[in-house]
């Protein structure tokens, strides 16, 4: 594996990985070992979180195409060994700003039609927490999937705020949460669009509670500036490289 060619991106933009009954099986133990190691790497490399999330869905019955995708991620890692997360120097007296981005695709999984949500937290401009996860329920609209992603980010925001409080760091409130979907934003403020949102599970209204309490402030941002985009969709190389640098990944010389 070490002499393989490095690859410039972590995932194919036009290939959807699916469960294919006709394809040949591969050694499940090997596949699980690879995925396990890659998941560990995700702790310090947010740029591969999406790709690893996708391949780990095929742990139970891995086929040839899944192993190829896993190998592609490993090739990508080989090409980006020197990349790391930048913790920028900051001037004293800067406000303790915690900001969050949440995004979701819709029906990203072609088999069970569940969506993928992703979020990213930046504290003093350094990425500190991120996630790319398949949603537990089927969302009926993009608005609903974005709302669910926002709720996951809200849970994380509450936890992060508490842990920072434990370290005697007072985060400036409200925490800004950037979402690129306007109907999800209105839904998080008021019970609007009742006809199309009444099926949303009660637990996801945690987001609205946090917004109304003043803990979170939802801000609209354009898709171009949505940093959590990198956790929910396979991207073209140039967009991927742009977002990778925006989430604070930097190449170091050693």
């Amino acid at each position: 594996m070490m002499n393989r060619n490095p690859s410039s991106s972590h995932a194919e933009t036009n290939v959807k990985l699916v469960m294919n009954e006709e394809e040949e099986h591969v050694d499940p133990t090997l596949f699980k070992q690879i995925v396990g190691s890659l998941r560990y790497l995700c702790n310090s490399r947010p740029n591969i979180a999406y790709a690893v999330g996708i391949i780990s869905r095929f742990m139970s019955e891995p086929r040839v195409s899944h192993l190829l995708a896993a190998k592609r991620v490993m090739r990508y890692i080989k090409g980006t060994l020197q990349f790391g997360i930048l913790f920028p120097k900051c001037l004293n007296g800067k406000s303790m700003e915690l900001i969050a981005y949440s995004d979701a695709d819709w029906c990203g999984n072609k088999q069970d039609r569940k969506s993928t949500s992703g979020y990213l937290f930046k504290f003093l401009n350094a990425s500190i927490s991120w996630c790319a996860k398949k949603q537990p329920v089927v969302a009926l609209s993009t608005c609903e999937s974005e709302y669910i992603a926002g709720c996951m980010a809200a849970c994380q925001a509450v936890w992060l705020e508490n842990i920072l409080k434990e370290m005697e760091i007072e985060v400036s409130r409200p925490i800004a949460l950037f979402i690129d979907n306007k109907s999800a934003i209105s839904l998080s403020r008021n019970p609007v669009l009742h006809g199309r949102s009444k099926q949303i599970e009660a637990k996801f209204h945690f987001l609205r509670e946090q917004v109304n309490k003043g803990a979170l402030q939802i801000v609209h941002c354009s898709t171009e500036l949505q940093l959590a985009y990198i956790f929910t969709k396979p991207l073209k190389v140039d967009k991927f490289i742009e977002l990778r640098s925006l989430i604070g990944m930097k190449e170091v010389e050693t």
Binding site: L81, G84, L86, F87, K89, A126, M167, K250
Partner: protein, 66 residues
């Protein structure tokens, strides 16, 4: 994990036998290190470069974890 003296913070991250010390006041960091080295047998590895399998490099803009 940390203690506050006169408004200065001195967060200490301890994992088994590895310590990261940081803080808002250089003198306090130095004092803490001297105190620890008197009490226990330990060596000062200077600036953070390696912790729990993560490598750290100082760049012009800040610290890079990789």
């Amino acid at each position: 994990m940390k203690k506050g003296i006169e408004g200065n913070q001195l967060p200490i991250c301890l994992y088994v036998d590895d310590l990261i010390v940081t803080g808002s006041d250089v003198n306090e960091i130095e004092a803490f290190k001297t105190q620890m080295m008197n009490e226990f047998e330990m060596s000062d590895l200077r600036n953070l470069t390696y912790f729990l399998g993560m490598e750290f490099t100082e760049a012009a803009e800040g610290l890079v974890m990789h």
